[in-house]
């Protein structure tokens, strides 16, 4: 028997498997960069290359996670964590990026604060926002956490020029405005997956940073 039609494959399945493929290539690139780094210790271009590769890798991980969420192949792994441990983890992950720039990262958080969340996803959400903040800030970023109305919040404040007005007034993620799109969308999805009783997590953006720039908050119930 001859089949004339191609069996249906969903676009997201194709996307999912392509991301894996690209990620594998990126893995090889990252390893080659490691090799270059050893012979060229003073070369800032290589550090930049390393940072860009890691950024691409993070983007792909976010895409893969979103794909798994859509394919319902995904459950948050919620447990109780120390918020300061989360922030330390984020700081450590960001260390090479901040070494590269002249921006200082300051952390404000009480040692005792605890939070129910998926550790990995919360860290990569904050990382993703921090990555963006770093691009637009001049000298300093404050990463803080606290409690408010039954939520734990993570806040990133920078000293840049702030979000464009169109963005803060609609509050919607607009993919067309450039590279903040996927990251913000990812974080809002992850925030939303965190729920407790009738509350769900959310994000908020404003230009009320104590440093005069943009302020981003992730609220988890």
């Amino acid at each position: 028997m001859i089949h004339s039609s191609v069996p249906p494959v969903s676009f997201s399945a194709i996307l999912g498997s392509s991301i894996h493929d690209v990620k594998n290539s990126l893995g090889v690139i990252s390893e080659l960069i490691q090799q270059l780094k050893q012979t060229n210790t003073e070369n800032r271009h290589i550090l930049q290359l390393e940072f860009e590769a890691s950024r691409m890798n993070n983007n792909l991980i976010q895409l893969l996670t979103l794909y798994k969420i859509e394919a319902k192949n995904f459950t948050l792994d919620i447990d109780e964590y120390s918020v300061s441990e989360i922030l330390n983890d984020v700081k450590a992950q960001q260390s090479s990026l901040f070494d590269l720039s002249d921006v200082a990262l300051e952390i404000e958080c009480s040692e005792d604060l605890l939070c129910y969340c998926d550790f990995n996803l919360t860290c990569s959400s904050i990382n993703s926002i921090l990555n963006n903040a770093q691009r637009y800030s001049h000298k300093k970023i404050i990463l803080s956490a606290g409690q408010q109305d039954g939520y734990v919040y993570f806040r990133i404040e920078d000293d840049g020029d702030g979000f464009p007005e169109s963005f803060t007034s609609t509050g919607k993620v607009d993919f067309k405005t450039g590279n903040t799109g996927l990251g913000l969308y990812f974080v809002s999805i992850i925030a939303n997956l965190h729920s407790n009783d009738n509350k769900s997590g959310y994000i908020s953006t404003a230009n009320d940073s104590r440093l005069g720039g943009a302020s981003f908050s992730l609220f988890l119930p």
Partner: protein, 543 residues
């Protein structure tokens, strides 16, 4: 900052460039002792010859064992002390629960590429936790659960807030382990009042199951799966609950779903093969059994049973050539294993029989007979039972009876196995054949026990021990006899004093009981008593 100078580190990574990158990273953290392995087997060998404090292992190791199999083997063979940190390095962010079974969790996952600071932060976090749980974990390592509970309770009184929930989790697990269900249930419920956490729900369901409330257990496991579909442990336990109520098809479905989500676990594939074979779904059984054979290649759980089971499944499905082929592969894979050889030979005989090739069947059977005689001492109980069945089928009544007699005597208090003996007899139309022997052996056991206990009550300890020692000789694998004898030996030591001889005797029987798989909760008080005696013995010895 964490002092890495004093830590011994094992780095397992197959890719030389990456290995060098991580090595440089580690040296920049003042690491002094670093051993490298480029594949899983070399890593296992290294862990065998020395104890490491930190193992940094890539998940993907090319041909051979993968990172998870390395971890599984290290834990299974106790090559890693609980104080050591095992860090799994992966190419993408993984959901730990999907990748591995509960008992084989690494301490941390690290996603490539990572910065040196992240590595350090994770190591610090892991060791802070290890240090905090140090005494509890050490007690668990020597299976002294009462002591572990004591330390746990003490920590609960003084713990910092951020450790509290982790501590409660461990305390509840210890309670379940020592069958103190009400404590465990209280803890889980308190946790759930704060927040619906997956592991607390699992705990509640597990307690239902262990208390025999199978229906509630099934309900709760189903609830967990519908809310958190990636909780693979819930599927395993749901299947186990269905099995307990003879709902084999439902059990198979639950396991099948888990295998689709995570096909890499050999024990789950094996379980699925067994159940599907029972329900007669030969296609599922064949696929699962084949998967178990493949996964077994580099696994510490590799077993000849997977090969012989696959042969049985092929035989049932009328694929006789495949069946004979897999048996030959089995022989090649297990060249010095009499149990495997016997299993393969018995299966050969049955397959030839069903093909109507009487001569080959007979030849295989007589070969099986001679293997069974030659290696009687080291064959396992399942293969002996299988052998007795084949003997009955070939009209070797006497040989079969002798094997059965020996099995019943040794395993009279193992209800599951006695049941297997009965099932075997029914399957060949010999219902109740073993009843008489089973009953007689039970009577004999009761008699010996009564006699020994009576002597004990009359404080004739030496005589009591002699009665049990005689019974032990006749039934060397009987758990009741060993337990009672050990208790009396310990009591006698307490009354009449320690000697090197009687302490060694006590130790011998405790070890034997452990080896026979006596439930830990039955051993706890005995082990505590023994530890006390050792303590006072050492004191008098040094005086």
């Amino acid at each position: 900052m964490l002092d890495l100078k004093s830590k011994k580190i094992l780095l397992i990574e197959d890719y030389p460039v990456m290995r060098k990158a991580i090595r440089d990273m580690l040296y920049s953290l003042d690491v002094v002792t670093l051993i490298e392995a480029e594949n899983g087997q070399k890593a296992i060998n290294a862990m065998q010859s020395q104890k490491f404090d930190i193992v940094l292992c890539d998940y993907n190791l090319g041909d051979g064992k993968n990172g998870l199999q390395v971890l599984e083997e290290a834990r299974f063979r106790k090559l890693l002390p609980s104080s050591a940190a095992f860090i799994m390095v992966t190419a993408e962010q993984v959901q730990g629960m999907v990748l591995s079974a509960m008992e084989n969790k690494p301490d941390e996952y690290l996603t490539k590429p990572f910065t040196v600071q992240l590595l350090l932060t994770r190591l610090e976090r892991t060791f802070e936790r290890k240090q905090f749980f140090k005494l509890v974990d050490a007690a668990i390592d020597i299976e002294n659960y009462p002591l572990a509970i004591k330390y746990c309770d003490k920590l609960l009184d003084e713990s910092p807030k951020k450790m509290h929930t982790a501590l409660l989790k461990k305390r509840a697990e210890l309670a379940v382990h020592t069958l103190d269900f009400s404590t465990a249930q209280h803890i889980y419920q308190d946790i759930l009042e704060q927040r619906e956490l997956n592991w607390a729900l699992l705990g509640i369901a597990q307690i239902h199951y262990l208390q025999g409330n199978t229906e509630e257990a099934i309900g709760t496991f189903q609830e967990i799966i519908s809310k958190y579909p990636m909780t693979l442990e819930a599927y395993d336990l749901l299947a186990q609950s269905y099995e307990a109520t003879e709902q084999h098809i439902e059990a198979q479905e639950a396991l099948h779903k888990a295998v689709l989500l995570s096909p890499q676990t050999i024990l789950r594939q094996r379980k699925l093969a067994t159940i599907a074979n029972k329900t007669g779904d030969l296609e599922t059984a064949e696929n699962a059994c084949k998967a178990a054979v493949v996964l077994g290649k580099y696994s510490v759980h590799k077993s000849s049973n997977d090969f012989s089971n696959l042969a049985q499944i092929f035989k049932k499905a009328d694929k006789k050539t495949e069946a004979l082929e897999i048996l030959q592969t089995m022989r090649n894979e297990f060249p010095n294993d009499p149990s495997a050889e016997l299993r393969a030979t018995i299966a050969d005989s049955e397959i030839y029989q069903s093909m109507g090739e009487a001569e080959e069947a007979e030849e295989a059977f007589s070969k099986a007979l001679s293997i069974s005689k030659q290696y009687d001492q080291i064959l396992d109980k399942e293969i002996k039972l299988e052998m007795s069945k084949v003997c009955y089928q070939n009209d070797y009544e006497e040989t079969a009876d002798e094997l059965i007699k020996q099995l019943i005597k040794s395993h009279i208090d193992d209800d599951d196995f006695i049941n297997e003996i009965n099932i075997m007899h029914s399957s060949i139309g010999r219902e109740n054949h073993a009843d008489e022997l089973i009953n007689a052996t039970r009577q004999e056991l009761i008699h010996v026990n009564n006699e020994g206990v009576k002597l004990y009550q009359q404080e004739k300890f030496i005589e009591a021990i002699a009665v049990f020692a005689k019974a032990f000789k006749a039934m060397p694998e009987n758990k009741t006899i060993i337990l009672n004898m050990t208790k009396i030996i310990l009591h006698n030591i307490k009354v009449s004093g320690c000697t090197k001889g009687n302490m060694a005797e006590a130790k011998f029987y405790i070890n034997k009981a452990k080896k026979l798989g006596v439930a830990q909760y039955k051993l706890n008080s005995i082990q505590m008593e023994y530890a006390k005696l050792v303590h006072s013995f050492n004191k008098t010895a040094t005086k």
